[in-house]
């Protein structure tokens, strides 16, 4: 453990320095521009991320400032940024629901239009090297135009229309000027939203305090046994990586686990529908089809590359805060962490393209429970602060 504690001391000193620096910077700029406590703490989080997270990558042309955080947060929470003022970013990335939506497998946008994929969490999105389940965009700064313009999400007719909306709102007067030295344009809109999202960091979890912090009692023996399985017999860490000094629990790669294959090839005649707590009845597919549009296909990464080898490949998500972000997988098809672990235990869904790292695990029930306990130890501290931070602004209209 000496290696670990040396490292800790080193990181600690670095953190302390950065913190002071950041705090000084934040206070200086805040004093000038009326940024509040939430903004200052957000800037400090970037400078010194909580235990278990690596340094935050920040693009050189978009340094984090309290003014940008404040503006980005306001934009993120603002329902007026959609065509009919019903949808904000936060309506699908809901702060109280792990910055995703726990109440839907896949969300709905303007006028209730269907999305085919589960909303990923915004927590720790600063570290995502590629955005979306199929990794089709690579910067937070550019990602925002996806939802703003998608007909099924916020349904704005054009980038110009979004900018015109913002210009027309009195409560935005001067905010872009203060944050960027100029009026709102496509560039600064992306930068503001990206900046806020970058600050939504959550770690210093019981796992982090145990593994990186040396606190033996931070997690239960069962969760510790789960970690052994995660990095051993169950083979999870082959894709959900755990580093020496920090962990993002992802290889940033794309894999076929069989979830997409299972969905696209399902042929069951009926679906179990829960009509009251604990009461389910089978409903024929034909009935379901009579009251809905046909679900859209989802071929995964192949849709981006046209490479047949990419069929049903999806990005490995981070597992941080995973206890807060149900339902799981790119289509929200698994409802609980136990469902997910049992899915892996069965060897995913065997078919031609299945990733060779996924195979039946032969886990005992107590091992399943241990893995779940471990996954539950990955919930960051101070989530409530991030929620309060998000809710420090109104939802617009």
């Amino acid at each position: 453990m000496t290696g670990l504690s040396n490292r800790r001391a080193r990181i600690g000193r670095l953190l302390a320095f950065l913190l002071t620096l950041a705090a000084a910077m934040a206070i200086a700029s805040a004093a000038a521009n009326g940024a509040d406590d939430h903004d200052r703490r957000a800037v400090a989080r970037i400078a010194a991320p909580p235990l278990g997270l690596p340094p935050v990558p920040v693009p050189a042309d978009n340094p984090v400032t309290a003014e940008k955080v404040a503006l980005g947060r306001k934009l993120f929470m603002d329902r007026r940024l959609s065509r009919n003022s019903t949808m904000s970013c936060a309506m699908c990335h809901i702060p109280e629901q792990g910055f995703t939506n726990n109440e839907l497998k896949t969300p709905v946008g303007v006028e209730g239009r269907s999305l085919r994929r589960n909303a990923p969490t915004i927590l720790n999105v600063a570290y995502a090297r590629a955005m979306f389940h199929d990794a089709r965009d690579d910067f937070l700064e550019t990602q925002v135009f996806g939802p703003l313009l998608a007909r099924v999400e916020m349904a704005n007719p054009s980038v110009g229309a979004v900018l015109a909306t913002i210009r027309g709102l009195d409560d935005y007067a001067g905010l872009f000027e203060r944050a960027f030295g100029g009026p709102a344009n496509a560039h600064t809109l992306g930068q503001a939203l990206a900046t806020y999202q970058r600050t939504v960091l959550a770690a210093n979890t019981p796992f982090d305090r145990w593994y990186y912090g040396g606190d033996q009692d931070a997690i239960s023996p069962r969760a510790a046994a789960g970690f052994e399985l995660f990095t051993g017999k169950a083979g999870c860490s082959a894709c959900h990586l755990v580093g020496e000094e920090s962990a993002l629990f992802t290889d940033h790669g794309l894999h076929d686990t069989g979830v997409g294959y299972a969905r696209e090839t399902a042929s069951d005649e009926s679906v179990m529908v829960e009509i009251a707590p604990g009461v389910s009845v089978p409903v024929a597919r034909a009935v379901i089809r009579s009251v809905g549009l046909p679900p859209e296909k989802d071929l995964g990464r192949l849709e981006v590359t046209d490479d047949p080898d990419d069929l049903y490949k999806y990005r490995t998500p981070s597992l941080r805060n995973v206890a807060l972000t149900a339902p799981y997988m790119h289509d929200g098809s698994l409802q609980t962490l136990t469902d997910v672990v049992r899915f892996y235990d069965r060897g995913g869904v065997p078919h031609d393209g299945l990733d060779p790292l996924i195979e039946p695990l032969g886990l005992r029930d107590d091992e399943v429970a241990a893995l779940v306990a471990f996954l539950e130890s990955l919930t960051g501290e101070a989530i409530d602060d991030l929620i309060a931070d998000a809710r420090s602004v109104g939802v617009g209209g």
């Binding site: 309506m91 809901i94 709905v108 679906v271 529908v273």
Partner: protein, 441 residues
């Protein structure tokens, strides 16, 4: 025991009678009105003359906008059974329910999607309602309530149920009170899991749907549906979404009408929707139907003066999810019409023993069926088809209509149909009755 009829209702009866006498002019006996309105509303004194149908704009149909459609239902009129006016409000707002102010001069109509409220003048010319006011601040006024649903007349006030909220589009919501002039008065949050707000019961979910009052008992009931995400969602997608299906209301809340304080939360699983109080002076009970579990529920005051809820009948075969939607009670409390959406069928229940209702008649009205309104004498019934824009059936089964029938105590006889797609109108939803006689006395 105290005499069950309190002063309040007596006054209401006397008032209604007075209107009947003064306005009984050329149209005949004072005996007609829909039966599911607030007791504070004046009655139409004779045959209803106009039907106001709050209609959802439909993509690809006409101007694609929500509109108030007026249909002439005067027997013998040259335009009987025809559309005689329509007022488009511009844009789609998920038009749903609507109601009159207590003076019956204005008609408030809501949009469940963007929470717009449109107020029509129906008294200046009852054959041609005019849009006179728009409230676009409902969410802000109410402190974050989304989806104005029921518009229920209280003295000088409009009590509006919200279905959702602006924080997460889930089911937590509230009742919101405005003056007849459109000024915000108060928001009354429905008790939820975290805060029972002083009510008793086995837990609450905060969900909301309909509201109805029984003034002589000083009680108000509210029911519970689901939040914006679900009611706006493609119905087929939702049925196959296990997470979404867990987000339906399981409660009916009893309130103190005067103080607006919640008193008791009943567990009524499976989304209890429309509430109808019985009319009889000794009838201290109301019905509601649970949409998903297809059960008829009775909310009643027991012999000990305690309010109770119990399931009293199945509606169709619950395993097939027939989806009971609108209901209409007869003015003599002996019959209850129940529409089931999935099989497009109107079902008549004999409720003369409210603890043992029995289905006594059914008739298929169309491929899909939602709302039903009946005249006060029970002789005329009107049906419409649309449930929600994204819940209506697909393809040819997406019939959109208003159908008028007469009821002779044995069967429904078809009178006329207005095809809302052919007429380029949209999806037909709630109906309310109008008549010139209301404003002539």
């Amino acid at each position: 025991m105290r005499h069950p009829m309190s002063r309040g209702l007596l006054a209401a009866f006397v008032f209604a009678g007075a209107v009947a006498v003064t306005a009984a002019g050329p149209i005949g006996p004072a005996r007609a009105d829909e039966t599911c309105q607030s007791p504070y509303l004046p009655k139409i004194t004779g045959q209803e003359e106009f039907l106001y149908v709050w209609t959802l704009g439909m993509e690809g149909v006409g101007d694609q906008s929500d509109k108030l459609v007026t249909i002439d239902v005067r027997p013998g009129s040259a335009t009987y059974g025809k559309v005689i006016a329509k007022v488009s409000v511009g844009g789609r707002h998920e038009a749903h329910h609507a109601g009159f102010t207590d003076d019956r001069r204005f008609f408030w109509a809501g949009g469940l999607d963007d929470s717009m409220i449109f107020i029509f003048d129906v008294h200046s010319d009852p054959s041609r309602p005019k849009l006179v006011k728009t409230i676009d601040t409902f969410v802000k006024d109410s402190g974050g309530v989304v989806g104005p649903h029921t518009f229920y007349a209280l003295p000088g006030r409009m009590m509006i149920t919200g279905l959702s909220n602006a924080n997460d589009h889930g089911g937590k919501s509230a009742l919101v009170e405005y003056t007849n002039d459109g000024l915000f008065v108060a928001t009354h949050w429905v008790p939820d899991g975290k805060d029972m707000r002083g009510a008793t019961g086995n837990g609450a979910d905060g969900y909301n749907y309909d509201v109805r009052v029984l003034p002589r008992k000083n009680v108000m009931l509210s029911s519970s549906f689901t939040g914006w995400s679900n009611y706006m969602m493609d119905f087929g997608k939702m049925l196959a979404d296990e997470a979404a299906m867990k987000r339906f209301g399981q409660t009916v809340t009893l309130w103190n009408l005067h103080t607006r304080q919640p008193r008791k939360v009943f567990t009524v699983p499976g989304a209890p929707l429309e509430i109808r109080w019985a009319w009889g002076p000794n009838h201290n009970y109301a019905f509601t139907t649970a949409a998903l579990t297809s059960k008829l529920w009775l909310i009643y005051e027991d012999d000990a003066g305690q309010w109770q809820a119990k399931a009293v009948a199945d509606i169709g075969d619950p395993a097939k999810i027939p989806l009971p939607v609108d209901i209409s009670i007869s003015s003599d409390d002996r019959h209850l019409w129940i529409d089931t959406f999935m099989d497009g069928t109107a079902r008549l229940f004999d409720i003369s023993d409210p603890h043992n209702p029995k289905e006594v008649y059914q008739k298929k009205i169309g491929a899909q069926l939602n709302m039903v309104s009946q005249s006060w004498d029970g002789k005329r019934l009107y049906f419409t088809s649309s449930l929600l824009a994204n819940w209506d059936k697909q393809g040819n089964d997406n019939e959109q209509f208003l159908k008028a029938y007469t009821w002779d105590g044995k069967q429904l006889t078809h009178k006329f149909t207005v095809d809302f797609r052919k007429e380029n109108l949209g999806r037909s939803h709630i109906m309310r009755f109008g008549a010139r006689s209301l404003y002539s006395g």
